[in-house]
């Protein structure tokens, strides 16, 4: 297909998040000649989306969140364009924009448009002062009304929910979080860890309401939200409603185009869509899986980056197939850090095959878990203790037995120097549990 010799092709990438930028860099690394254009309506600048919260909290300036200085784009000759895409014509290989931005033609097109917050048809979900926390515009909107907020209600107990709660709380706002689940985010965390995070959130001064669902958002008569009603019939007066009940692929740029979509942009595992020369990467991708399996949508910074690396190779004619490898993720819930590696079944999703070893001290907000299957390590979950990605990955890949892992446990610790080491206590507790 395309090799070095086909210089002059124009690669157009819609979306300048981590997936789009990684794709652009991966293509440039292999093809010095082609023209690359990165398009975003949100911002001319590539910034770290997970860092939006730190701008609001006053930890970082907006500029701090940009990983690259201006010279980087000149040096890599990646052109940037700030414009909203209106229409993609795959027959003419042309992208049209809103306003008076001139259309672009492409030889290869990448859809990397990311996610948008889920809305489940709640009455009042489109009122003013009701929003998600995904974009710079969301941040600007929140900043604009911030002085008027005394009480904010956040609907949805996921990662963005707790971040938004922390943001409002840092400015002295009262925050109530409504989560449908029995324990915080227990569709991703095992029960003990979900309960621990819930305690940490409450201890941090956030009013976490579990097993509570949103019924409707009340209009103050002028099109602004003024209260939230729960399904239990409670009315929570508030000046802000955050919708953080997950995200779904943002397909607005594809409206009217011939690119097939389901939940997301339908792709094979080489990130090719069903239209020639059109590809996708990141949150907006829906991987088409063999019959009988549920299609896969991945909405993480890390997966977006990995998609971009694979896609860059595919677009330069290499045979590359996306394989996310051994799963990993991390987050921070207020002051509690979380690292997870491999397969850690969330609450209620354990099978009889899973053997769980859990250490949880009474006097500290910590938890450490090993998950074994047929006696071999498949997962590590650590809260409040940093663990090494590559070491845990190797343990899992090598399928170490419980005793082998316990012998090596101190090698995995990634906490700073002089921190208390919990491994002796963990090993003791696990040997006890294994007996």
């Amino acid at each position: 297909m395309f090799g070095r010799k086909t210089g002059g092709r124009h690669v157009v990438i819609i979306g300048n998040g981590i997936a789009g930028v990684t794709t652009a860099r991966a293509v440039r690394a292999r093809d010095k000649k082609c023209r690359i254009t990165l398009i975003s309506g949100e911002s001319l600048h590539f910034f770290s989306r997970p860092a939006l919260m730190y701008i609001y909290m006053g930890h970082l300036t907006e500029r701090n969140t940009r990983p690259f200085e201006e010279w980087f784009w000149k040096k890599t000759r990646i052109e940037r364009l700030q414009a909203w895409v209106k229409f993609i014509d795959v027959d003419a290989k042309r992208v049209d924009f809103a306003g008076d931005t001139a259309s672009l033609t492409y030889d290869q097109l990448v859809i990397a448009t990311g996610s948008k917050p889920n809305k489940f048809g709640w009455p009042g979900q489109d009122l003013e002062r009701v929003q998600g926390m995904c974009t710079l515009q969301d941040l600007a909107n929140l900043e604009a009304i911030s002085d008027d907020i005394e009480h904010g209600v956040i609907v949805g107990g996921g990662l963005i929910g707790v971040e938004l709660a922390e943001m409002l709380h840092s400015r002295g706002k009262r925050v109530t979080m409504l989560a449908r689940e029995k324990n915080y985010w227990d569709n991703a965390l095992p029960e003990a860890e979900a309960a621990l995070v819930g305690r940490v959130i409450r201890k941090g001064g956030i009013d976490l309401r579990l097993a509570t669902e949103l019924d409707r958002i009340e209009d103050d008569g002028e099109g602004r939200a003024c209260a939230v009603h729960t399904k239990d019939g409670e009315r929570l007066p508030c000046q802000f409603v955050g919708l953080t009940a997950g995200v779904s692929p943002n397909l607005s740029a594809l409206e009217g185009s011939k690119i097939p979509t389901g939940r997301g942009v339908l792709c094979d595992f080489s990130l090719r869509t069903q239209v020639p020369d059109v590809y996708a990467a990141g949150d907006c991708v829906e991987f088409v899986t063999p019959e009988g399996e549920r299609n896969v949508v991945e909405q993480l910074w890390y997966t977006g980056e990995m998609h971009g690396e694979v896609l860059g190779r595919v677009m330069c004619g290499e045979e590359a197939v996306y394989d996310r490898g051994i799963w990993f993720n991390s987050a921070k819930f207020l002051d509690l850090e979380w690292h997870t590696y491999g397969e850690v079944p969330p609450a209620g999703r354990e099978t009889p095959d899973h053997q769980m070893l859990l250490w949880q001290p009474d006097d500290a907000d910590l938890a450490f878990r090993l998950v074994l299957k047929q006696g071999r390590l498949v997962g590590v979950n650590s809260m409040g203790i940093r663990y090494r990605h590559k070491v845990c990955e190797r343990w899992i890949a090598d399928g170490l037995g419980a005793e082998q892992v316990l012998e090596r446990l101190p090698e995995g610790n990634f906490d700073p120097e002089f921190y208390r080491r919990y491994e002796p206590a963990i090993v003791r507790a696990f040997r006890e549990q294994l007996r």
Binding site: I18, S48, P50, A51, Y54, M57, G58, H59, L60, T61, N64, T65, R66, P67, E69, W71, H151, H169, S170, G172, K173, R174, V175, T176, R202, K203, G204, G205, I206, D207, H229, G233, E234, R235, L236, P237, W301, Y302, E305, F328, S330, A331, K332, L334, D335, E337, H339, R386, R388, H389, K390, E393, F414, D415, P416, E417, F418, Y419, R420
Partner: protein, 445 residues
């Protein structure tokens, strides 16, 4: 339908806001005795004047810090730093910069103006040094006070982080013991006022022939011991400790300049420039100072005459006063707390070469967990773009890193860890041949 407003009282700052304001005002009012002294109306005399001048200030400053952190949870406390009056490069910060540069200028060039203020410290000077106070005693006293008060602030602020606690305790100990009390005690004992925590080339006198001659003449062999300690510290202790622990053993655990930066400078870390251009400037400026002081020292040993004495005098003015004091500390609220250490300190240059090429120290990154938020880079006081390495999963091995550990502390994904490896050779491609790598980097600066 029920109406409830029964969440916990969660406004994190509400309880303390009033207290903080009260203590801030009280701290400000505590400066009144200094103003009165300068105006020629000291309050009381002797120890009474000393107590009236310093006790309320210290007490209210500590109460302010206590009120700031008393109802917080252990963890990173960077809320509102980018918007702060003093920390956000706003009017108050600029004014603070003007005041600090002004104070340093007066101290170095018109020290006698401070007579009414240093007279306040007379009883302490008499007690510790057996002689009247001068502007340098006042300076040392205030410097130590700043390290101790702001060190106490570090204890509250980073109470969850034992690396920060140990390191802060260390700089407080070395400032109080080795940079304040011991030199005073030596003076009281009629011995040279020697600083065992400052070495050539940061303290260039310690290898100057004239200083050696003077030390050598001191009775009782104490001077000779100091002379030999100075040589051993520069040429034996420094390379060995840097090999095992990196530059940090000195810059963020022992050094007085580092001590001030790590305590009083903590609110200003994020103000250092992260631009690539700043890094390029830094490499030229810091190594230029090193070359100049090395040449000057050699010249002092081999040459005589007026020219070399003039050189020595000008180095003292330009580097010792302007760059390390007036710019180095005065610009804290504008360019961050390490302007001197990063751009000009010749000791940092030597330690940096050691750390970059001949050391086991590195900051490791945790696999692929970085999500590029930029906290590490923003809070790096040395202006290292830590994120650029973390995003690639690479070790950070940079000459300028002082090992303060803040990047690791502020990382919300647990990606960074300061480590002394078992070897120097596994840190980066080329680390196995430090000399060849060093020569290569000299060819392509």
């Amino acid at each position: 339908m029920s109406v409830t407003l029964t969440g916990p009282a969660v406004s994190p700052h509400a309880d303390s806001a009033g207290l903080r304001t009260a203590f801030a005002v009280a701290t400000g009012v505590s400066l009144l005795p200094f103003a009165l002294a300068l105006a020629g109306h000291p309050v009381g005399s002797g120890w009474t004047a000393f107590a009236i001048a310093f006790v309320p200030f210290v007490v209210f400053a500590m109460l302010y810090i206590w009120a700031t952190y008393r109802d917080t949870h252990p963890g990173i406390k960077n809320d509102d730093i980018t918007r702060g009056h003093f920390t956000g490069r706003r009017t108050a910060g600029v004014l603070l910069g003007v005041v600090l540069t002004g104070l340093y200028t007066v101290l170095y060039f018109q020290g006698e103006w401070l007579q009414p203020v240093f007279a306040l410290t007379d009883p302490l000077s008499q007690l510790l040094r057996d002689r009247p106070a001068d502007q340098w005693f006042l300076y040392g006293f205030l410097y130590t006070l700043a390290v101790l008060i702001m060190g106490a602030r570090m204890f509250w602020r980073y109470r969850h982080n034992r690396y920060q606690l140990f390191r802060t305790a260390s700089v407080m100990f070395f400032q109080l013991g080795f940079a304040f009390l011991l030199p005073a005690f030596l003076l009281a004992m009629q011995q040279p006022e020697f600083y065992f925590t400052y070495f050539w080339p940061l303290k260039p006198d310690y290898l100057y022939p004239s200083y050696w001659a003077w030390l050598w003449q001191q009775p009782g062999g104490v001077g000779a011991f100091m002379l030999m300690f100075g040589v051993a510290a520069s040429f034996v202790l420094t390379p060995i400790l840097t090999f095992y622990f990196g530059k940090r053993w000195y810059c963020s655990w022992v050094c007085g300049c580092g001590g001030l930066a790590e305590t009083a400078g903590d609110p200003f870390r994020h103000l250092s420039s992260k631009k690539y251009a700043a890094w390029r400037f830094e490499r030229w400026s810091i190594h230029s100072v090193l070359v100049i002081i090395t040449a000057l020292t050699i010249w002092l040993w081999v040459g005589e005459g007026e020219a070399v004495q003039t050189g020595k005098k000008w180095y003292g003015y330009a580097v010792g006063m302007v760059l390390s004091g007036i710019v180095g500390v005065g610009f804290y609220p504008l360019l961050g707390s390490r302007v001197w250490c990063r751009f000009f300190c010749p000791m940092a240059a030597i330690l940096g070469i050691g750390q970059r090429f001949f050391s086991r120290f590195r900051i490791t990154t945790n696999g692929d967990q970085c999500m590029a938020c930029g906290n590490c880079s923003a809070y790096c006081e040395m202006g290292i773009d830590v994120r650029a390495y973390a995003m690639q999963g690479k070790n950070i091995v940079r000459a300028s890193c002082v090992g303060c550990g803040i990047c690791s502390a502020v990382c919300p994904r647990g990606v960074l860890k300061l480590e002394n490896g078992k070897t120097y050779a596994d840190r980066y491609d080329g680390a196995q041949n430090p000399l060849a790598t060093l020569l290569r980097s000299l060819k392509n600066p």
